[in-house]
Symmetry: C2
Subunit: 337 residues, 2 copies
């Protein structure tokens, strides 16, 4: 009952001139190079993932299964002059996976062409049907959830970095995706914020099923428990994930909820306490395992003093996932979970 | 952007033999007799709302605007021998409003007939389109939200009783519905648990818009903050409602979440505290205004001792909305809000 994307991927970048609009493609190439067969660009592209250049037909011949829409243009539209590529991919026998706002199935003729070729058009913004209501029943295996003080504070990055660090150490671990870019990186998942509210915790239960006792699911967080718009998503995800451990993610210097200048962010100890109060509904042993701060706007001294202050305040490893890496958090998990 | 049902109503009861399956019809006739033009029953019906008997044509001639599906059969299906009545209603020029699981639009030919007659088929399980993300922006007027220790603890009843008590005292007040029966009683609302989780708090904002400074919106609660399946709905509704006051609803003697025997219910002081922690995100002044307990399984002595114990524990008026009425809560609101 999850979205499932077949690899290897051909990453389609169109003629997008700006790297900032190619986050999805860059993210997949960075985190999962082993999934990427190649990239396909149109004349004028300003983005290079460093992957072999292939047309859809060449990619298919090389074993690719899915063409991934690797860019997010303004408004999430499908530019008219990129449509031919979609048909090219279908004709070559590739599934297409996209998170564009105007769905692939709205492109005239594409669904019919896909049906004839028996390839799938996968919309990573659409949750699977028939999700259940959450039950809170205990599942086997271990789980970690990224919790944010706000949106856009590095929850996906932190979860990906922790899952990678675990795997690099030979642990039995998986990243579990709850948002569209994460789903493409993971090759599957559920876009949790698009799930009807009655089924959010049930969807989160589906996302990290029973597993080996030593297995870690590292789950991408969404929103914030203190966000006036998105807290429902966050709480349902927390309940359904029933995490043993959580990591608080924060952007250094941010004081107010992004785009909501009247809403103060919680301080980190408050968020830890509230996450434990809420998380105990489905896991009596939930504990915080660290803090992950985006300090990209700070110099090294500022960063070091902020992280050591936070460590003193919380008694936990506090890292910048880019500047310092998440090793200390995985060490802490190793010793305490 | 809310569901809007035109009154007066003709309540359709089919040949339903059991009153327990006619909760919707009974609820509307009890709480909103002024909306009800009449009832329509098929031979064999065992339910009587005490309203004038009318066919759809007679009801329309008497000014009725909408035929309400007043029963909930097993599985929420539409019995085959009731379908003719749906066409009768459409032919008479009545809108039809239902919360059946199989939608009215799935009845072959009904949507086409409704289009020809320019009447509406209203599904109270379907939220309106284009709901916004919640912003938390402060709205004028006063709001009260019913918060439950669990599902099925009398949140709708309590909210309806408080709104009625306020109106009986001449206050400027409205009941705001978030579930399908409530929506039919209110003549409008949003089925909040069917809203995509990203938009739950936004939907709740739409539900109780800016109003007069002395106006009370009394909002039907859903789920519970400590429910493993439905807490996302509850938190989004709390944030979007930005209530000044909340009333805790509880079923006396219940210890575990209904149908989730491993989940202990929160005690009432814990729920009050957690509601305040969560509610402060959008209303810094949120306070509890009382406790409403279903004590129908108790005798008078047990009830009195439970309610006075709870009053001592919380320092707030504690009532059974049926046995004692909600007057003490409205007194408390009068003195403190």
């Amino acid at each position: 009952m999850q979205i499932d994307i077949k690899s290897p991927y051909l990453i389609f970048l169109g003629d997008e001139p700006e790297e900032t609009h190619a986050k999805t493609g860059l993210g997949i190439a960075h985190w999962r190079p082993e999934l990427c067969a190649g990239q396909y660009r149109l004349p004028g592209s300003g983005v290079d993932l460093g992957l072999p250049e292939m047309t859809p037909a060449q990619a298919r011949a090389a074993g690719a299964q899915t063409m991934i829409w690797g860019v997010a243009g303004v408004g999430g539209t499908i530019p008219g002059h990129w449509v031919a590529t979609l048909f090219e991919a279908v004709d070559a026998g590739l599934d297409i996976c996209a998170g564009t706002h105007s769905s692939l199935t709205e492109v005239p003729g594409l669904a019919e062409a896909a049906a004839i070729k028996a390839v799938a058009l996968i919309d990573v913004r659409s949750p699977p049907p028939d999700l259940p209501v959450g039950t809170g029943a205990k599942r086997s295996g271990k789980r970690l959830l990224a919790m944010g003080t706000d949106c856009v504070v590095g929850k996906k990055y932190t979860a990906l970095a922790i899952a990678k660090e675990m795997k690099d150490r030979g642990w039995n671990a998986d990243f579990r995706a709850t948002g569209q870019t994460g789903i493409m990186i993971a090759g599957g998942g559920i876009p949790i914020d698009a799930v009807v509210s009655d089924f959010v915790s049930g969807a989160a239960e589906i996302l990290s099923p029973d597993n080996d006792a030593d297995h870690w699911d590292v789950i991408e967080g969404q929103g914030s428990l203190f966000h006036p718009g998105y807290a429902a998503v966050t709480l349902g995800l927390l309940h359904g994930s029933q995490p043993d451990a959580f990591v608080v993610c924060h952007a250094a210097g941010r004081k107010y909820v992004e785009a909501f200048p009247e809403c103060l962010l919680p301080d980190i100890p408050t968020l830890i306490e509230q996450t434990i109060v809420c998380g105990r509904v489905t896991n009596a042993n939930i504990r915080c395992a660290g803090v992950s701060v985006n300090t990209s706007a700070m110099d090294a001294d500022e960063r070091e003093s902020l992280l050591s202050e936070l460590s003193e305040l919380t008694g936990l490893p506090c890292v910048d996932p880019v500047a310092t890496g998440v090793g200390p958090i995985v060490d802490y998990l190793d010793e305490n979970f």
